[in-house]
Symmetry: C2
Subunit: 162 residues, 2 copies
Amino acid sequence: MTSIIKNFPGRHHDHAACIESALEQAVTLCRERGARLTPLRRRVLEIVWESHAPLGAYDALQRMNAGGERNAPPTVYRALEFLLEHGLIHRIESRNAFVGCTTPGNSHKAQFFICRDCGNVAETHSEEIGEAIKASATRTGFLVEKPVVEISGRCLKCHDDE
Amino acid sequence: MTSIIKNFPGRHHDHAACIESALEQAVTLCRERGARLTPLRRRVLEIVWESHAPLGAYDALQRMNAGGERNAPPTVYRALEFLLEHGLIHRIESRNAFVGCTTPGNSHKAQFFICRDCGNVAETHSEEIGEAIKASATRTGFLVEKPVVEISGRCLKCHDDE
DNA sequence: TTTAGCTTTGCTATAGTATAATATATCTAT
DNA sequence: ATAGATATATTATACTATAGCAAAGCTAAA
């Protein structure tokens, strides 16, 4: 069932299955919640999932309109907002872009590793990072609400290929 | 000498001294490096330091032009770029905004705590967070280059005042 | 002290990201 | 079938950022 990849996509990553799995999970999750995954929203999710690299809103819009449609920016932004609310995608703040969530429904605090070469993102959920942030916050006199942890660098595949 | 505050500004924070100290440190650091802290760049640094909250580029521009000047966006962006290069300010990715660096010259990896109420930012340099990120990166197969750690929440002062 | 080369600033235009506001359409539950 | 709520369409505009080139200023060597 869960064939969404967790770390960086390997050499034999079956991305068609990956997308399919993400969409299936989204359908299930929305049904459970009574949220309406309309064709438009579903289409945007599918587009975001076309790769493991963060996609800009206007890039998504271009893909939506590739067949001659005339969707305007608010349309894609509203769809993205819905997908964010339901934890189906993440916003990558340091890129002004969006990426599919690998663990929809468990939308706790995540960290993102973003390869500067291939652009792919790996999502982790490290307790250790979360705890370290909490400890530092306490020392600083701060109550954590929304941690943004986005690490740029290189994935091993790109490093090895260099 | 170093009167730049490290955590959130307290009730009796002397901000005039805080700005002065930041500018002094900048002058010293640029002299050491042979970098040219021109009046324009110095002015932008001063504006960024007017508060402990991240300031947008266009807000800085407005302040620069408050006396009727006609500086254009590239001018402020170039000054900000210079200040970033020399570690005198930080860019807060999640806000598209800039804040003074509290430890210029030691421009290692920093973490930022950003209060959603007062907007103030505290800068920390937690080894623990850095190590936790490194460990998670290793498990994920990733080489860290530029970690972005920006935590939104509330500072204790705002929490207590509520 | 003049000139050549480099750095900085000025200026215009444009690209890229995001949302306000209002109108229309669609869905859901009675 | 209809009322109320939700979703989509459309236009306009705000906000963020950079490309490209011209002019001015600085620095160092002759």
